[in-house]
Symmetry: C2
Subunit: 409 residues, 2 copies
Amino acid sequence: MALINENYLKLQAGYLFPEIGRRVNDFIAANPDKKVIKMGIGDVTQPLVPSVVKAFHEGVEEMAKGETFKGYGPEQGYAFLREAIAKHSYQDKGVDISAGEIFISDGSKCDTGNIQEIFGNDNKIAICDPVYPVYADTTVMSGKTGICQANGYYEGIVYMPCTKENGFIPELPTETPDLIFLCYPNNPTGTVASKEELKKWVDYAIEKNAIILYDAAYEAFIQDDSIPRSIYEIEGAKKVAIEFRSFSKTAGFTGTRCAFTVVPDDLVAYDKAGKAHPVKPLWNRRHSTKFNGVSYPVQKAAAAIYTEEGKKEVSEVIAYYMENASIMKESLANAGYEVFGGENAPYIWVKTKNGMKSWEFFDKVLTEANVVGTPGSGFGPSGEGYFRFSAFADRENVLEAMDRIKNMN
Amino acid sequence: MALINENYLKLQAGYLFPEIGRRVNDFIAANPDKKVIKMGIGDVTQPLVPSVVKAFHEGVEEMAKGETFKGYGPEQGYAFLREAIAKHSYQDKGVDISAGEIFISDGSKCDTGNIQEIFGNDNKIAICDPVYPVYADTTVMSGKTGICQANGYYEGIVYMPCTKENGFIPELPTETPDLIFLCYPNNPTGTVASKEELKKWVDYAIEKNAIILYDAAYEAFIQDDSIPRSIYEIEGAKKVAIEFRSFSKTAGFTGTRCAFTVVPDDLVAYDKAGKAHPVKPLWNRRHSTKFNGVSYPVQKAAAAIYTEEGKKEVSEVIAYYMENASIMKESLANAGYEVFGGENAPYIWVKTKNGMKSWEFFDKVLTEANVVGTPGSGFGPSGEGYFRFSAFADRENVLEAMDRIKNMN
């Protein structure tokens, strides 16, 4: 008798974004005359930059000719892309990461979701609250948790609340975790971690033989040079951290699909007898057994980001979004909201007024201003009473949305 | 302390293809003057067809303009592709599968590797021997097996030997499995399953409440109209089978990456209390939590296969490979080998002479004929003494390779 993975039954119904989609679609169906402005899902709106488009076309053209056609590529990604990443994203910035430690994939959602497969089910997982829902959901699917309790926490996960009171920076947990998900610049709060803050975590992981799963998908939005862009800027991090990066937000690849994960040679995890094992061969095995590489033209397009022209074009798009963030931050503050993030991250984290619940605020903003944001509680119980606006939008829409919100009751 | 998934330690070192790559590279390094012809990995050699290239470019161009730019698409794939598949691959052939039952992915390796995640670890898995190594490897990774025994079998997997003696068609297993991997046209033996044969399996799965995981990646190579192209041609199959299909071999997408999996609405699996649960919502949840859709231009390219022009162009490429298969089959038979497959599949399965071991024959063919094939034992213990030649090659190379093999000692 074929048995289901019963852990799936523990998952709370409705992943956040489908629920948002449902409510928005219902509203549009009932109000076909209203122009709804979407600032909910953190999805880019600006087209691929010219250098990327050019390389993408060239990649397609290579696939059209027998002499240049590419069949299966290396599962880990083509050397040209791994080397460009190692050089431009790490070595040129003084961070010693080599091409062999970089695994190209089709998305950070996949990598952060799949990474737990190489670790045993006896690990205790720590996550921030609120945070990107994939960390908790995939922990549940893997069987490391009990049910979801009345407080919104799954049994067995170590939650680290991040609220206004602690500046959205979690304290070291009292219960020792084995795998710690951190995300900076943070989704959804827009918080960044200072060098000192990250050092605290790296030292903690070293002391506990824990591993940090560091999601740096929004690294490109850091404006302040004193903020680390990679966890490997912290001494000792290569022994205890895996870093996830993505081209999705950096270069508008949400629909094009390319990302990478860094698993340093020095990183070890343990068997139950306490023997250390390098982690990279495990991820390499997983990656080459259950994945077959990213589309060649897409890898070629991604590599174009590292040309001089590509860098310049991509930085202009990022500046555009960050100008949005700046406008939103100011407008929302002027409208009387307490506002966080938005300075080194494309997300504005807003405290609702008078303790209004997140979904109530969602409905209010949707029906009164016809603007879609993301309810903070969708990212975890400590997000209740907060709301996320994404700066990934067209300027015109940003201005109109802010105007409408200002005039809400 | 971060603990590894110790099941990975049970995996036999060296996935088959890396080991082939290592031996070939060593040979080339030692013999730089020799022209090595590769017929090992089943990788296509013909470029993408013109209709696909055209649509691929158009997709890239859409990503270059604000008005047509696409961010995140549906994780399950765009409706235009799901609907084209449902119509052309199923409904037009009298098979009642709807777009909503189709999940677009970046490869069948990923899907056949990931599918076990939605099923519990108490399931007993049955696989053919020999077969595509991913089924067994991912079963081991998931923790359903013991160690690999001296006979090459992992403890806990139900192996179904396929040899010349049973026509490479497995018997129903004596120990009842819960999940049964079947692959037709078969990789590596090139065998196909008749309607009667598949009906036997569907009836068996219905009787046992088991699920068939049906890998039909080579469906496009079937020449004989009496052979089913889909397991859903068999009555009742929608209740007990998941079907995997791929554009990799069908349309030369091994480096472009697109595939799909059919999970019918009627398919159920059970919780431990014996309650039936529909399987589709579980796969949908997995797919939308750990995957983020296939690159938009790639989906657009894939859909072009279903245009009149695309169908014609793709069928010509398939005819080219099948002509290769036919040439190879005849040449190898003339050279005194017992030869199987190659009539409805792009693989020729050869029995070595005088009981020579598969890897010994590999080395012989490599060093004497400078041709790369795949040792049958790499697909499982019952593949020992066999050898796989792939018809995915340029005609000129096929003719030269056959000529050289004919002249081997």
